[in-house]
Symmetry: C3
Subunit: 329 residues, 3 copies
């Protein structure tokens, strides 16, 4: 992720201050240096802090440029020698606290106080058609020939491309919409996702500093819900079409030319390849990798990674032929 246009970064913050919000088992000694941002292993520059939460990412971590890293005792060995390790037990909680330190406004959806009725700023958007009671925040960009239907809210810094159709009763925040995108009525896009560290007294919300990116030609049916990412972005790639009432959780990546039927749900951080077809009401568990050209039957429950070119169905989903065979028993 480049400079975050949606959330204000309070950095630079001294490493010693970062350590005070953590509950570290051990931490580096020279801590007076400035840390500018918190980023993932790849994006982090030598002025940033990062995190390592699984040995799955050891190839990335060994090459990270980050100057410091939040991780666990067990994973520390996968860091470069010159990367300062902050060793913690509860990685997610400490990561959330440090993220909140940099981005204090990212834990809840704040009220956008910059909203202005489109009637008052029509001149700024001379080639855009507006319905009534549309509310537009500061620094919103909308391309030519786009239309926005009545009662919709487009919050500060959102970008919308050319030839887009945005229905009524839509909320767009922390979102980048490319050209030729169609978002039907009632969609809620870019709000914080469902992520928190459970606590009997008061759950601790994970900050969400990511965005939603809808690439060229994407279509969303009515009443879809697309949460923004926590530390990465939620992305729907070119020419993918979603039907009504589809739920896409935080950090999900959907490839190109996908067809996703009504009421499908995709849980957090899962990745879909290109040309994936999903039947109505199917569910994809979190953190899965669905390959290219995969076909998933309606109502399926997918709980494992799926290789390219597979055709699956069932709950839990299995090879389509096996599903048909089982049915006949």
């Amino acid at each position: 992720m480049k400079t975050n246009v949606f959330f204000k970064n309070k950095g630079p913050i001294k490493l010693e201050k970062i350590i005070t919000v953590c509950s570290p088992i051990s931490f580096p000694k020279n801590t007076s240096l400035n840390i500018f941002d918190i980023k993932d292993l790849i994006s982090a520059s030598d002025k940033d802090i990062t995190f390592l939460n699984s040995s799955k990412y050891k190839e990335l971590s060994i090459n990270t440029k980050a100057t410091a890293c939040i991780t666990t005792q067990k994973l520390q060995k996968f860091l470069p020698n010159d990367c300062k390790a902050i060793i913690v037990e509860n990685l997610m909680l400490n990561l959330a606290k440090v993220t909140k330190l940099f981005y204090p406004d990212s834990q809840l959806d704040e009220l956008d106080k910059t909203l202005i009725p489109s009637d008052k700023i029509k001149d700024k958007y001379s080639n855009v058609s507006f319905g009534q009671n549309v509310l537009i925040g500061e620094n919103v960009v909308i391309g030519i020939n786009s239309l926005v239907e009545s009662n919709t809210i487009i919050e500060h810094n959102v970008t919308i491309g050319e030839n887009c159709v945005i229905g009524s009763f839509v909320t767009l925040k922390n979102t980048i919409v490319e050209d030729n995108v169609c978002i039907q009525s009632g969609c809620k896009i870019g709000q914080m996702g469902f992520g928190f560290i459970p606590d009997e007294k008061k759950n601790y919300r994970i900050p969400h500093i990511g965005s939603v990116i809808l690439r060229q030609g994407v279509e969303l049916g009515v009443n879809c819900t697309i949460d923004r990412g926590s530390l990465s972005n939620t992305i729907i790639d070119e020419n993918s079409f979603l039907d009504n009432q589809v739920h896409v959780a935080h950090n999900v990546k959907i490839g190109k030319n996908c067809m996703i039927a009504g009421q499908v749900g995709i849980a957090g951080s899962s990745t879909l390849g290109n040309n994936v077809v999903i039947g109505g009401q199917a569910g994809i568990s979190g953190h899965l990798k669905i390959g290219n050209n995969v076909q998933i039957g309606g109502g399926s429950g997918v709980i494992k990674d799926v290789p390219d070119n597979s055709k699956i169905m069932g709950y839990p989903s299995i090879n389509f032929r096996d599903f048909i065979r089982k049915m006949e028993l």
Copy 2:
């Protein structure tokens, strides 16, 4: 379908012009005649064009009055001798292109520029109660004793009967609502359905020139979504009740006195008889025929036609007794 009140017909259009938007394998010679509309096999008059896409409809096609028909090489034999056949390979794509020629505004949901706040036209609706910020389009009819809650949008040419309750945040377009209907808040009704011809570069949207018809005494729970039909209508018949978050796709017909529980999804072009009861979260695949008095257990996935008076459950759904027996294994 009679004269379309929601979409402007650009007809008459010369047959030779219609042929130019198709990619025909063969087409009739005398093509200077005027074609007035595109309709299904039964509705078409001798001034209209129609289409035949399956041998299932051969009984209808042999009796069609249409002067021309888009079809395939294989199906051509089911047409009357005097019906001019336009033979194509990709029937759906050619049909979509011809439909768009007659109804250019039906491929996307256009901005309704006729919307006026109800405050300004209250006199026109003297026996109707309005909440605040209700937007009403041109030629909207609302019967006496009906009420419309705040922030709702009723687009041009929509008709609402007497004694109806329309909740807040509802969008009604291309819809006919009969008497005593209750539509709860957040419903989105009459938008284009999920239909397109996939194309790697840019999917081609199927025009939707149909409407939604909600007959007497229908009730829709909050946040339901009912898409309008593509070439026919989406219909919910008398006294059928739908719970919250139900999704009804384009061209679906639901009979009388049906009870459909929360989060059910009914895919495109399926037909339900009368007195059908569906438990929560069940899904009905597309193009199915569900008989009268059918009971479908919650969570079921229905992928085959269901005869009258059946009681089914399961994924995929089977006879209810067999489902219970399987459970006990």
Copy 3:
């Protein structure tokens, strides 16, 4: 339930008048006495009428203080001697009619004519932040440091605690919201539930005189739907978090510290204990009791009571280990 703040009670009503709206098989003789309210077996005082619809509640009924009770021939024996029994055949229909007699406004959602734009009554809510076009009804209370995003509707007598976040396009009616609650955009809360007595000509709606209670620290994702109770309340207890598009039906009680993922549906009158975790798209049938610390896998269909500390999955749901074993067959 104490005095109902949301629905006007037309009581006292003479018992003889109550009997005239019933179709009783038998009824008490001295019927000139005044009845003040209709309540459940426990809440009813000696001036109220109650109802008994199952022998499950015989321990409660034998101790009820109610002066009269609607019940059936078979259940009459579980009433105290001095409780006047109105014996009917169709208990639900008679109960609905008597409830409507006391609360005539509870059968449909009426238009709230007291709504005023927040701009005009900001002084009343000096420590609350409002977006634009917020509509507030009579007697609404909102605690300090709470914020309400644009276009949201808060109907008469709703109470919201301190430090709450209410998103945009939310409808709140007949609802009590405690402190530190977060309701994301598009939620519809407190409308009448899906309850009616089927009738071929015109279904008879069951009055809904209950409320929704969201206790401290509750979070609801976008586009959730929470129906109010019919004769009891719908309750979500402290620190429970719901993801997007969750549907909670009338009379449901959800315990403390529950985590409920996206698109889950909970049918009417079911009860969840504390610390219940439910995966995405799972469904819970009506009238079930789910114990404390229960874990329910995504996509499950729960159709039986679940004891404390169980881990279940499947459709229908079974013990998690058995589910895994079956998968491997």
